[in-house]
């Protein structure tokens, strides 16, 4: 498994190889290998403490790996800082909605527009028509066009989650990582989110962490089951659901 043919490797947008992170001897992620295709929507499931969120933290640079490599397109992410990883094209949504409550929805999206990211670029940044157009486009996608002027703090929980997804879309990432995007959402909102994730998957890859199996079924191209920092099973939803070890450690509960 560790020895992957380099010619095959090129096809993946993300190849994680032999990744380990150890916190005081505890291996939260343990020699993990993961490959994500272009335009693929991968769902990572697993019991609490399996290392799902840690895996995303490692990819986006929030946590530094002890050993192993993370290859994104032709860049080695383990050597880059967080903002460089974002600029390389990796977007990350956090578990709890992480938006700027004291700005309006419009401003939340504007701040996420990938231009004027340096101090002086920021000072000379102007709200040009293409910025406004892009904001309206994304707002429509996440169904918040009516609320552009509203303070983000006043949005409902589900809308906040969508806003954060919208903020990621503004950055036009090639890899989008979402940590429990439907936690705390109503059934209807879950359906809408599933549709949204399926829509935005065109032209980019996604890694989604989720517990809700119905939701997973409706979006997953492929499912990876993590357990104690290692991959327990990987494949289609049906394949994973039939796996006895998966039923034992996760689905059975």
């Amino acid at each position: 498994m560790n020895a992957v043919n380099p010619s095959v490797k090129k096809d993946f947008i993300l190849s994680v190889e032999d990744l380990t992170v150890s916190f005081d001897g505890f291996k939260a992620v343990d020699s993990l290998n993961l490959y994500v295709d272009k335009d693929e929507l991968r769902v990572v499931i697993g019991p609490n403490g399996a290392g799902k969120t840690t895996l995303l933290d490692l990819i986006c640079g929030k946590t530094k790996a002890t050993t192993g490599t993370i290859q994104f397109k032709d860049k080695e992410l383990t050597k880059l800082s967080e903002h460089e990883i974002v600029r390389a094209g990796v977007g990350r949504k956090f578990q709890t909605p992480s938006i700027y409550e004291n700005l309006t929805v419009f401003q939340n999206l504007e701040v996420s527009f990938p231009r004027g990211r340096g101090v002086f670029g920021c000072l000379s940044f102007r709200r040009t028509p293409d910025v406004i157009e892009r904001i309206h486009q994304v707002a429509e996608e996440i169904q918040l066009e009516e609320h552009l002027e509203m303070d983000a703090a006043l949005l409902s929980h589900g809308q906040k989650q969508w806003l954060e997804i919208g903020m990621l879309l503004m950055q036009e990432p090639e890899l989008l990582m979402l940590d429990e995007p439907v936690a705390g959402m109503s059934v209807k909102e879950r359906e809408q989110t599933a549709a949204l994730l399926n829509r935005i998957c065109k032209g980019r890859s996604e890694i989604v962490i989720e517990h809700d199996m119905e939701f997973v079924k409706s979006i997953a191209h492929k499912v990876t089951v993590l357990h104690q920092g290692k991959i327990l099973a990987e494949g289609s939803m049906a394949h994973v659901q039939a796996d006895e070890r998966v039923i034992e450690v996760y689905l059975g509960h």
Partner: protein, 415 residues
Amino acid sequence: MKAIYSNLLGGKSGAVGLALLAVLILVILPLSLDIFRLNLVGKYLSYAFVAVGLVLLWGYGGILSLGQGIFFGLGGYCMAMFLKLEASDPVSTKIQTTPGIPDFMDWNQITALPAFWEPFKSLPFTMVAIIVVPVLFAFIIGAAMFKRRVGGVYFAIITQAIALILTILIIGQQGYTGGVNGITDLRTLDGWDIRTDSAKYILYYFSAFLLFGCILLGRFILSGKLGMLLLAMRDKEERVRFSGYDVSSFKIFVFCVAAAISALGGAMFTLQVGFMSPSFVGIVPSIEMVIFTAVGGRMSLLGAVYGALLVNFGKSMFSETFPQLWLLLMGGMFIAVVMYFPNGLAGLYQQYGARLDKLWQPLARRLAKRNKVVAPSQADGSPQLVATPVIRKLAEKAVVTDEPVHEAIRTRRPA
């Protein structure tokens, strides 16, 4: 032109606020106070520079620095060094063992001007140094702290420690710095006597205009994307970082800007008060400056100026009668502001101002109605656009609804 109006002046309300403060500082105070009191106001205004810097740094950036006295002091000392050298020409210092060097050096058995004093013989160099020295210092502190992600209370404590260290250094090296007395007996600026009444008036006005310049600079920074980003960083730093921004560089930048503004205040202080000493560098003045900002409103550039003026007026009034009580009162005021009015006087004004607006609106409507009735009678054949109710309504509608979304948002400006 329109962009300048909305960005720098902050639209109508911002322009009115700025105009009111300008009238107070440039007209009312100079007309109603004698030169001694006005010179005191000038001193308070030099603290207001620091408060304006703190609005950017603390109010918007969320970075509490308890060491802004460092930069105020560095700016002030740079100015003082130039003035002192000018006052120490060989003729007026001929009774010294070594004529031509500042008096305190002579008292400390120093026989030649230290190398780092040499460049301060030049006025252009001094003017550049007033800004560059503090900014460089701020850059080093900022880079060391923010790159390592030191923030919050830890940053506040470290800045406080640096302020203390700088004070000790200045006092300890009295042969080079004038020690605890500071640099005193300053007389002329490039031959112009700064101790005369007319010079004090000119310096007061110069200082006031410079302060307004700093306020406009602050508005320019806050009205654009950077202001928005500072608020975003204060709220969710991680999210900003994971939106592709190098958070530390923005913090370093705003820290440097605040330092530069504080340093200008320090230089104006030296010019108006006529000396500079370590008692304006250390922990106590640095915390006092945070209190001015908190009382005035840490989210308001204009509020910070009012805060600096009011607290200092209070200080000079109370400390004349109850010198011991003043510190307790100021401490109590700080606690009260933090607990009950987190946005200070400016916050109160915004709340109270909204209520005033409500009171005013029915009156305004009644006036408008009366105008409508009156208008036809004064019609002299020429079409009176304002008078017709339909057009008035249309105009109102255009203002309220036809404004595009982004325009409506653009008008939300920092006070």
